[in-house]
């Protein structure tokens, strides 16, 4: 029996698909609200490949695991302002409206869920039958020290880092 090598997207392609997924999620879920969410003067556009946010700048992290022919994860990390930007964008709330802690957490989880789902559909499903976990909130960088493809999104007031790592 011959070994069948799994043809996962290479790092550069994975980063492109991550960027595409993030942009599609933001554009669709925050349509009409985007202008006030994403800063137009950010370097390299709205979301650009960049090293993951350093631990000192991360207040929240949500992880979605991938399991299948290969294992891996998608991670969304942000500072407090970035978390509020995402929650306000998804819930279409103004800056003056108050948000509960659990509303912010749920919005981050859903944002991670949608971006991870898009990424799975674009990058993983063509390679095999991958399963996606339920978003889980964790202490930033607590269990993960692998370095994968990552990008940085500058939002209205904060910053969000997204990362994908696959076992190769």
């Amino acid at each position: 029996m011959s070994d069948v090598k799994l043809e996962l997207p290479h790092d550069e392609e994975l980063n492109r698909l991550l960027q595409e997924s993030a942009r599609e999620a933001f554009d669709t879920m925050m349509a009409g609200f985007m202008g006030s969410v994403v800063r137009s003067d950010s370097q390299g556009g709205e979301c650009a490949p960049a090293p993951a946010l350093p631990a000192a700048k991360v207040d929240r992290e949500v992880v979605v695991d991938f399991n299948g022919p290969s294992n891996g994860y998608f991670s969304l990390r942000c500072n407090a302002e970035g978390a509020m930007d995402i929650a306000r964008g998804l819930l279409m709330m103004d800056d003056c409206e108050a948000l509960k802690v659990e509303e912010v957490a749920d919005a981050l989880g859903e944002c991670a869920n949608v971006v991870a789902g898009l990424l799975k559909n674009k990058a993983l499903s063509p390679c095999g039958d991958f399963k996606m976990g339920i978003p889980r909130h964790c202490v930033p960088y607590e269990t993960r020290d692998q370095s994968g493809s990552s990008l940085l999104c500058h939002l209205k007031n904060g910053v969000v880092s997204m990362e994908v790592w696959l076992q190769r």
Partner: protein, 124 residues
């Protein structure tokens, strides 16, 4: 439409679906919510006049596919329209959902237009 049920473990997504229904001009008198399949089935038992269900697939306790199967196994649940709303866009998952008894499938993220298009075959 009098009464619908939205089943999703994310309160954000339940709110987004409510908003999109308004934007799509789907008039609903009462919207019930549940955070997983077990809660969804309980709501259906206590409110048998629910006319439409929107359900996520990946949820804790009981996933959306198992909930659809359970609804279809009930005598009164055979003709109840069920729309899956999920990030799972793989063809195999769509097929699994439809085989389990779902009537329509919407992939997240969606626009009011794509949501409306998915509901059209159901006459909504």
């Amino acid at each position: 439409m009098n009464k619908i049920l939205i089943v999703d473990d994310s309160s954000t997504m339940r709110m987004i679906i409510r908003r999109v229904l308004r934007q799509a001009n789907v008039e609903v008198t009462t919207i019930l919510e549940a955070a997983n399949g077990v809660e969804g089935l309980a709501k259906l038992t206590s409110d048998p006049d629910i006319q439409l269900i929107f359900s996520d697939v990946n949820m804790p306790e009981m996933n959306g596919i198992d909930m659809v199967k359970a609804v279809r196994a009930q005598r009164d649940g055979k003709s109840l329209p069920i729309v899956m709303v999920t990030t799972e866009g793989a063809d195999s998952m769509v097929q699994k959902a439809m085989e389990s008894g779902a009537n329509a499938y919407v992939t997240k993220p969606f626009t009011p237009e794509s949501f409306q298009a998915a509901l059209k075959p159901l006459g909504i």
